[in-house]
């Protein structure tokens, strides 16, 4: 029964990891930017929410209505300024710049807010309550809600990218910036919008993790970036639903690892990631090999 519980918990945390991975996947898929500051920006979103709540005393969930748009605007601005200028130079420059950002953000948070970890929404029924199935399985409402949010976000992204007019423009810009430019659209603005969408999901990921666990300055890289990346690679690069599958595989691997030895939770996830890298470098869902 403990094993069944581990698998159920793993699948549900997989939703959280898929949420981590959305923004990373989207930024890479459209702009070919691997954003090494991805996780740190998610932590920033969490800290902004904590700040907004402390100052205005609004309910936790209401603060999301402020934080997510703020992060989306930040995404647009960052993309139009330093990320675009890095892209204009070379792929390596985007890596150097986002790595620099990551270190600056992490140490900045450490400097201004200390290494103390903080949570979001403690005391909230949504965060604290759980329901049980049988004597041994206890499921937190929050995890179910996060999983549902992840599925909704993935569905929304899928619809946005394949169904909407703007989504088509984004995919066209991802394929060929010059052709898009010739057709009369400003691909830089389109990239900005894509970054805004990606940053909104990044914000959501940071907020979700802040409620699920605790945020501290190193959470961004140690947990969010590396888990997001592992989920992306396990699932298959460039596939949104693969990301969900990757997140679930990672989550289940971690929970089973924790079941064997409590301190091996993270290691078990990474070992599965490395095994996938060896056996199926194109990921679980991708058909073609990575070019």
């Amino acid at each position: 029964m403990a094993w069944v519980n581990a698998i159920i918990q793993g699948v549900l945390t997989g939703g959280l990891y898929a949420l981590f991975a959305c923004g990373l996947s989207l930024m890479f898929g459209v702009m070919k930017v691997v954003n090494l500051a991805h996780g740190d920006l998610a932590v920033v979103a969490g800290y902004v929410a904590i700040g907004v709540i402390t100052v205005t005393h609004i309910p936790v969930l209401w603060s999301f209505l402020i934080v997510i748009p703020v992060m989306a605007v930040l995404g647009y601005v960052l993309q139009r300024t330093i990320l675009q200028s890095a892209l204009d130079r070379s792929v390596i420059t985007t890596l150097l710049v986002t790595f620099g950002l990551s270190v600056v953000i992490e140490n900045g948070l450490l400097q201004f807010f200390t290494a103390n970890s903080r949570g979001l929404g403690s005391g909230l029924a949504l965060v604290e309550d759980s329901f049980s199935i049988g004597p041994q399985i206890q499921i937190a409402y929050l995890l179910v809600v996060i999983f549902a949010v992840a599925v909704v976000v993935l569905l929304g992204l899928q619809y946005f990218l394949s169904g909407s007019k703007y989504g088509r423009l984004i995919r066209a810009s991802a394929d060929d910036t010059e052709a898009v430019q010739l057709a009369g659209a400003d691909y830089r603005h389109v990239f900005g919008i894509a970054a805004a969408v990606a940053f909104a999901t990044v914000a959501l990921a940071g907020l979700a993790y802040g409620m699920y666990s605790q945020l501290d300055p190193t959470t961004g890289t140690d947990t969010i970036l590396l888990f997001a990346f592992a989920a992306v690679v396990i699932g298959g690069l460039g596939s949104l639903w693969g990301t969900l599958l990757g997140g679930i595989v990672l989550g289940v691997a971690q929970q089973i690892g924790a079941q064997i030895n409590l301190s091996d939770e993270v290691l078990a996830g990474y070992l599965v990631f490395l095994a996938i890298l060896v056996l199926r470098p194109q990921g679980l869902t991708a058909r073609r090999t990575q070019s």
Binding site: L36, T93, F99, V103, V233
Partner: protein, 350 residues
């Protein structure tokens, strides 16, 4: 290859291909003099200064290796702390078994070079940005595995044994000389590698990977070699770190901060130039010493400067010097001398 290396008989009268505008000899003499003076430092300066210099040696060695990876081979690794940590642990394990930590240092470097092979096999499956994060995950994985062994200190680490017999003054001096030796060997290795055939391939990759591939350069093999050399170099730096700290702690030696420091020093000094890491390390040490009492601020300032430099001065400080003065301390390119011998008309970095 023979076309460019055959400098003895000029094909056209008056044209000459040389390694640098001036004779390389004085650079060699200058480098030797610098090394000799540095070697005498323990007799000349306070131990506080040599301690700072040991830190500089560590950063310079790391930056030179990272420069080889990112500046020439196009491999942006953010997981080089894996080798820093492994180097430190190799020294610790050998010291526990009775070896002198100083004798263990070259073994640690060699061990890290060997460890780089399976690691390359894993991470080379991914490209550019995903390669970067994969190295990071790999470093985290190695740390988590090492933390499982309580005989080498588990998650908390342990002090480095085997150096208690030395007097503090002697230990400081030995550590300093070991640091100097590591740095000189690392810099010399980078210089020799880049001057040779591998250097031509790497410079071609640096300038245009697709063109290099289509000209028949064995890009994959060159990258594997660079990854192994960088692994050994970072391992030596990690071994040096263990000796200078007298303590090996997993979260400290496997910290991504090492990669941040080597990357920022390289970017600021000049990515893709041998001189760059030296300048960058100097900037790093000055900033770190000035802002020492403000915790992580030196890293924040370094990071911001590195971002600006990466965007607006791609060849860093040394690149600016080079553009305006055409100076090379380590000539690895070729210069074409025309009959009129106008110095500035030259073929740069063939």
């Amino acid at each position: 290859m023979s076309l460019v290396t055959d400098t003895s008989t000029p094909p056209v009268a008056g044209f000459r291909v040389t390694r640098s505008r001036r004779s390389v000899a004085w650079t060699g003499v200058g480098a030797l003099a610098v090394v000799v003076v540095l070697a005498l430092f323990p007799y000349l300066v306070y131990s506080g200064t040599t301690t700072i210099l040991v830190q500089a040696f560590i950063v310079l060695t790391l930056a030179s290796m990272w420069n080889l990876l990112a500046g020439y081979a196009g491999l942006v690794s953010v997981g080089q702390q894996a080798f820093v940590g492994l180097g430190a642990y190799f020294v610790l394990i050998l010291a526990i078994h009775g070896a002198s930590p100083f004798a263990a240092l070259p073994v640690a470097a060699l061990g890290c070079g060997v460890a780089a092979l399976p690691m390359w096999w894993l991470v080379s499956r991914l490209r550019s940005g995903y390669f970067a994060i994969a190295t990071w995950v790999l470093a985290a994985t190695i740390m988590l595995i090492i933390e499982k062994f309580s005989s080498i200190g588990g998650g908390t680490g342990m002090p480095l044994p085997g150096l208690a017999g030395l007097s503090p003054a002697l230990l400081t001096a030995y550590t300093y000389w070991a640091g100097l030796a590591v740095t000189v060997v690392a810099m010399a290795a980078v210089y020799v590698l880049l001057r040779g055939r591998l250097g031509l391939v790497l410079t071609a990759i640096r300038d245009d990977e697709v063109a290099a591939r289509s000209s028949g350069a064995r890009v994959g093999l060159a990258r594997l070699l660079v990854f192994v050399v960088a692994g050994a170099g970072c391992g030596a730096a990690g071994a040096l770190l263990a000796i200078s700290q007298l303590q090996v702690q997993p979260s400290a030696v496997f910290s991504v901060q090492w990669t941040a420091e080597m990357a920022f020093a390289t970017i600021i000094g000049g990515l893709g130039t041998i001189e760059g890491p030296i300048i960058g390390t100097a900037v790093y040490i000055v900033l770190q010493q000035t802002l020492a009492s403000y915790n992580a601020w030196y890293l924040i300032v370094l990071g911001l400067v590195a971002i600006v430099v990466a965007l607006y001065a791609r060849r860093g400080i040394w690149g600016l010097v080079d553009t305006h003065l055409s100076v090379r301390l380590f000539p690895v390119g070729y210069w074409l001398r025309t009959p009129g011998d106008v110095d500035r008309r030259s073929v740069r970095d063939v």
